[in-house]
Symmetry: C2
Subunit: 159 residues, 2 copies
Amino acid sequence: MATEVDDEPGTEPAEKLMAATISLDAGFLLAKLHAGGSVLNNRALAAFDLKERSYSVLALANSGLEPTQREMAEFLSLDPSQIVALIDELEKRGLVIRAPGKLDRRAKIVSSTPEGEALFRRAEAAARDAESAALAGLSAPEIATLKGLLRKALWGPAA
Amino acid sequence: MATEVDDEPGTEPAEKLMAATISLDAGFLLAKLHAGGSVLNNRALAAFDLKERSYSVLALANSGLEPTQREMAEFLSLDPSQIVALIDELEKRGLVIRAPGKLDRRAKIVSSTPEGEALFRRAEAAARDAESAALAGLSAPEIATLKGLLRKALWGPAA
DNA sequence: TATGGATAGTTGAAAAAGTCAACGATTTAT
DNA sequence: ATAAATCGTTGACTTTTTCAACTATCCATA
């Protein structure tokens, strides 16, 4: 995860190591941009006692898609046991509930309580602001292009 | 980090949760694509007893830019103490060396030995292949656009 | 030119995150 | 019916992250 993100608004990178060939590596660029964004994101979400992880679980619970824990784990690239811990905490806070899958009683469908939804709406707005800050160097169309390419890389043209 | 990446070539995502609004979130997309790529990257680098982290340190040592450990830490978004451990291991393997900064004797400049360079060249090729696999859904110009946008988001138009 | 405050690297401890194997309950296939 | 597979859960274990010291060195300035 990240370490330093400039706080002062007037500071510029001037990164000498930008010239290293590794800065042409997509994996490195993804990691670095994600690291910087994570700091901002977590900072914004802390106001709601959420982190990136719990926020994304809460988001899926609010999607109306009735995801099972297993589906959440796969979608978020997390181990199923980590989902258990995240949901335990959100459930304890009354933000989400587990319900047995109607069609498969092994599975548990996670959905949001009204409290969870209310919190999510507010957190979502904060996360949007944090994203804007992280991508401040790009124009709106560039951001759209970037997201489109990321989605295509992940899910193909159907995204 | 990631958990599952399909091994069979014929498998498609068909991810039901793609429809959740969080899949429009740049932070989430960056994290997910990075997670998938990391698995492939680490898999490829394991043949050289390297991981993403040690590979990127080795890459900077091979950049000819004479980076200090502090500069590496900032560039790689890592804590300085993590750099110490990474370099300790690479130095023990004879791949890099520490030299006192000519101009600031507190700082240590990390550079590659010939053995380190030889290993890096081979690892670099493997990493390139892994990246291609991770971005297989994109065309060459799309990959160039993606990298350009990532660089611009990180470093501004000067990138 | 000495003295105080900052900075580079290092160490070590503590917290968080990730990995993995096992288990009970259920489902699916035979 | 039985066997194999899957879902959530737990617990153990490893790795990564975070942070506060500490020494050595640099820098500012009185």
